[in-house]
Structure formats: C-alpha cells, structure tokens
Point group: C2
Chain length 182, copies 2
Amino acid sequence: MNYCSQCGGKVVLRVPDGDNRPRHVCLSCNTVHYSNPKIVAGCIPVWDNRILLCRRAIEPRYGLWTLPAGFMENGETTSEGAERETMEEAGARIRIGELFSMIDVPQVQQVHVFFRADMLGPELDPGPESLEAKLFTEEEIPWPEIAFRTVEQTLRWYFEDRRNGSFGTHTGAVRYSRRSGS
Amino acid sequence: MNYCSQCGGKVVLRVPDGDNRPRHVCLSCNTVHYSNPKIVAGCIPVWDNRILLCRRAIEPRYGLWTLPAGFMENGETTSEGAERETMEEAGARIRIGELFSMIDVPQVQQVHVFFRADMLGPELDPGPESLEAKLFTEEEIPWPEIAFRTVEQTLRWYFEDRRNGSFGTHTGAVRYSRRSGS
C-alpha cells in the first residue's frame, strides 16, 4: 500500500495511537488502513459415496485437484459462499450440511472453512476456473495431485470420520517453511 | 474507496473481465481491489464454572457486556487471535479449547468465531478497551446488557450444552433489519 484509498495522500507504516502494531496510516487525512485475514469457503460435495473434486484451470496450482472453494464475498454467509463456489467451479447443485473443518493458514492470512454437502444430482458443468470436475471414490482420490494442504487434511478427516460412522467438526492450522502457497 | 492504494490513481466500481461482481478497479494501473469479510475471534473463558465478560469502554455498544473478542490480525491463527484479545481486554491468561461457535453476520461483512477456554487463574487486569472485566454465573449474566447478538447466542448455546453435559460446535447467522451493529 502506497497511497490512501480515501484521499489519495501518501501512507506510511506506523503504530497508531492506542494501537500495538504497525498499520498503513495516511499522512494527509490520518485514516488508518487495516488489513485482515480472508476466509476461503468451500465444501465436500458427495454423490453416491463419491466426492466431487475440480481440477484447477487457474494459478496457483494449475492442473491440480481441489474441493470447490474460494474467497468468501461481502454480503454472503460462509455456507452461501461455499454453495456459490461449488456452482461456479463445478456447476453442481448441492445442499449444504454441517461445518466440517476450519483450518488456519496464517502465513498467507487465510482461514479455510469446509462444510459437508449433499449433491442434488450427478450433473456437472465446470466453469472457466476448472479444467474438469469429477466424482471420486476414496480409493480413486489423486492424493499426490491435491492442490492445497487444507483440502488434503479435510479429505483425510472426512474419510476417517466416515469409517468411524460419525462426522465431527475439525480444526487445525497449516504452517509451512519453504513450499509456497497453502 | 476513491483512490488506488498502489498508484494513487482514480478508481471506479466496475465488473472486471472474467469476474461477476463490481470491484474497485484503478483507471491508471488496472489493479483490482477486493474487499472481503473479516473474522472476529473470541472465546468463552471459564473459571470455577463462571464466565468472563468484559464491559466495553469503546463504541459500538459502549458500556455493554461482551465475551472477549476482536478482529483477527494477519499472521495469527483464529485461536491465537482469541487468546490475544482475551489478554488485551481482560488481562486473563487462558488455555484455548475447542471451536464452539461460528456465526455469520453478512450485513456487516463479519464472521464471529468463539472457542471454549479455561482460565489459568482468576486474576483479571482489564485493558483500555474495557471498563471492567468480571466473572458471572449463569444466573448473573446481564442478558439485556449483552453487546452483540453473536455473543448472546454463543452464551445461550454454551449454557444449553453445559446442562446437557456435552459441548458441540454450533453455527448460525445473524440477520437484522433495523437495529444497527451486530
């Protein structure tokens, strides 16, 4: 951030009065500009015991597989965001279920949230962000080609809970050293 | 938003190519500026079956009672944010437990997340954002003076689960018509 989005003046990084960490503060109008983590909302769409994955047509992780998910938008709820992303990326109609996982990814200022979801039919119509969308049994999941660690962790928890016959809500954090992205 | 935070140019609200909703786009450098919901992270600190509440010394809801909570910061996890807010607002040392509630507040672009927490001692030292911090039994909770609906809902779920002898993870959304804030 170089300029104030309110008045166009120059901003500097400084600790505002009464605060305890550096923020972008405008030298002209004194507006303090905050930056906070973003929510990525997604789901685990299921049809006939198979899981819906999408192969990414965009960076990062072009060509790798993910659960449908994306940045939550203003004005929607987390579950509405997950439903919208599933329609946009896979063209799948779903009924959102319980919250299944919430995983912090502090190094990229994100929190990933996944809900369980029932597909209302097997029809798929992947959008421009997906190369393809496909249903997988547990045995067919392409583990080495999963795009994000939060998705891999969520899928592992999902299959574990399914084997145990009872679904919970799982939380965790992904921290990484060298590998970029999440 | 009036000016581009990258180059200082004028921004307009328009739907970028390949997008489906209006964003602030810079007319000079074409940067697209996104705005997304923020996470408010908090907890339910418990000492000797009593719940810690803080009386707000800041707007909105000056003078009303809340669970310790605040905007999650970049670089921290949701539970780290909840722990930091509890220290800042109440001076209470805690051990964060399980995720207890996640409540969407779409009209103010927020998602409120509360964890269960055990206090490590009864000592309190409220910071400048709190008029006071105090432990309450269920019977003592000042229901008409609770600052936010997400806090009231979380407390009601908490006491219900405690009576049932088992704590779950709860989700919901707060939508309001006339009353401002959340």
